[in-house]
Symmetry: C2
Subunit: 270 residues, 2 copies
């Protein structure tokens, strides 16, 4: 999906919500376990309940891989079921030497037809650029993540006091463009989000950490929005497991609608 389509969808739906499809087989409502593919059955209901409210879906690969081959089958079915107007993200956090990164890009863009894949930048340029070679496809590189461990290495500072995440994000902007490169920036760090928006006015940021991890949507928008909105705010557990029983899809819709309404209000104010 190209950027103008993504931006048009955000404006039409008045939403920049990304639903994280982290279907944990151990947390699924019990009545789904009798289905032939419980993970897909769950995802299908979640997608049906939210696809007019969300602009993107982000399956977290760990949850599929952990089930072995049948997990990859569930992933394939899920990907095919997502409406074509929605942006799809393989949350895989891959990163390896050039010839291996080529293979990962082929996996997520050819074997599976995702619009984007999350990429870990630790190994540098040749681990990132293979994901930037496909028309209409995106690399979403880790910048500043939402988890406690982000403090360990991402804040490593050079003699001028510049943290690694800032150096890395600036450097990676030379490898791609706002048309094929996004960044992961955690919602749990709104002050940094503002600095990063100043440094990278045009790029999209994929923002996890609202919901279960405690970030605020209002803060994220205040510090991170640009004229194209420029944000995809992800929520996973707070939507998927809003209720744990047969009413899970209704509860997921209610939570997605609550977030979408808040997003629409924020978008109306600019």
């Amino acid at each position: 999906m190209k950027r103008p389509e993504l931006v048009a969808q955000i404006k039409a739906k008045k939403s920049f919500l990304c639903v994280g499809l982290d279907a944990d087989i151990h947390k699924l409502p019990k009545h789904l376990l009798k289905e032939s593919d419980p993970v897909f059955a769950f995802n299908r209901e979640i997608i049906d309940a939210t696809s007019d409210l969300a602009v993107a879906y982000k399956p977290n690969l760990a949850f599929y891989e952990s089930l072995g081959v049948r997990g990859w089958d569930s992933l394939q079915r899920t990907l095919e079921y997502i409406p074509s107007e929605c942006f799809t993200i393989a949350d895989a956090k891959r990163g390896d030497i050039g010839n291996t990164a080529d293979m990962y890009a082929r996996t997520f863009f050819k074997t599976y037809d995702f619009d984007s894949v999350t990429v870990n930048p630790y190994m540098g340029q040749d681990s990132v650029t293979p994901f930037l070679q496909y028309e209409g496809k995106w690399a979403i590189v880790l910048g500043l993540t939402s988890n406690p461990g982000a403090a360990d290495f991402q804040y490593y500072r050079n003699e001028a006091g510049q943290p690694l995440y800032m150096h890395a994000m600036k450097k990676m902007a030379e490898w791609g463009s706002p048309e094929n490169l996004m960044y992961v920036v955690g919602a749990t760090r709104p002050a940094e989000l503002g600095e990063l928006r100043a440094m990278l006015p045009q790029h999209f940021f994929l923002v996890p950490g609202v919901g279960a991890q405690g970030g605020s949507l209002q803060d994220v928008f205040a510090h991170g929005a640009n004229p194209d909105v420029g944000l995809l705010v992800n929520a996973s557990r707070s939507i998927l497991y809003a209720a744990g029983k047969v009413d899970f899809a209704e509860a997921a819709r209610a939570e997605a609608a609550r977030m979408q309404a808040e997003m629409a209000a924020l978008m109306a104010a600019i």
Copy 2:
């Protein structure tokens, strides 16, 4: 596999060779393509030809994932075929927030019964420690990699001039022990390898970059060996594709034997 078993195997085989199972469907000898599972057929012959010379096998996940579900089937068959005395490495370079890292650990240690998995440390402690919770299993964390892109972020220096890779490797030694944590250190950087060995005298280093990437086995041993040898030197393409036709397994054995003989000579000299 616990450390004493690994060390005993290294001493018995007079080898610290790891064979990287990066079976690229596009590079397989043509006669294998008529097999029902060409990747497994290739791996099986490579394993048969090298398992008395190698102490470890390292399937590179990208090459399996790129084939979709049938690639994971090939991976499972390959893993089951590797002799139980050999150490197995899922070269997956995973790394994500704590609850997701838990899932990846479950994938590679439970769904698949690998001895170890490579882990990317960019996201910090909660992305690494879930891989350290399994008896007899190992996290192999990226330290200083062998690829050109290593220069981009791994050499980011603090005000004292200490590069990120050194900071990260020192920090991670606090999270695991030489019994469950190894590091990836590229063969293409022998001077740094010596410094890292001085800093981390006991840990095993997994060393890619000998062979196709140009590193020297002699340099690696001179700078990186410890009394337990403490090295697993990986070769992938130089062994797998030593010859491209029906004689590929013989040629792979010849190249593995050449490396093992060099390793035995280096080990005899200490």
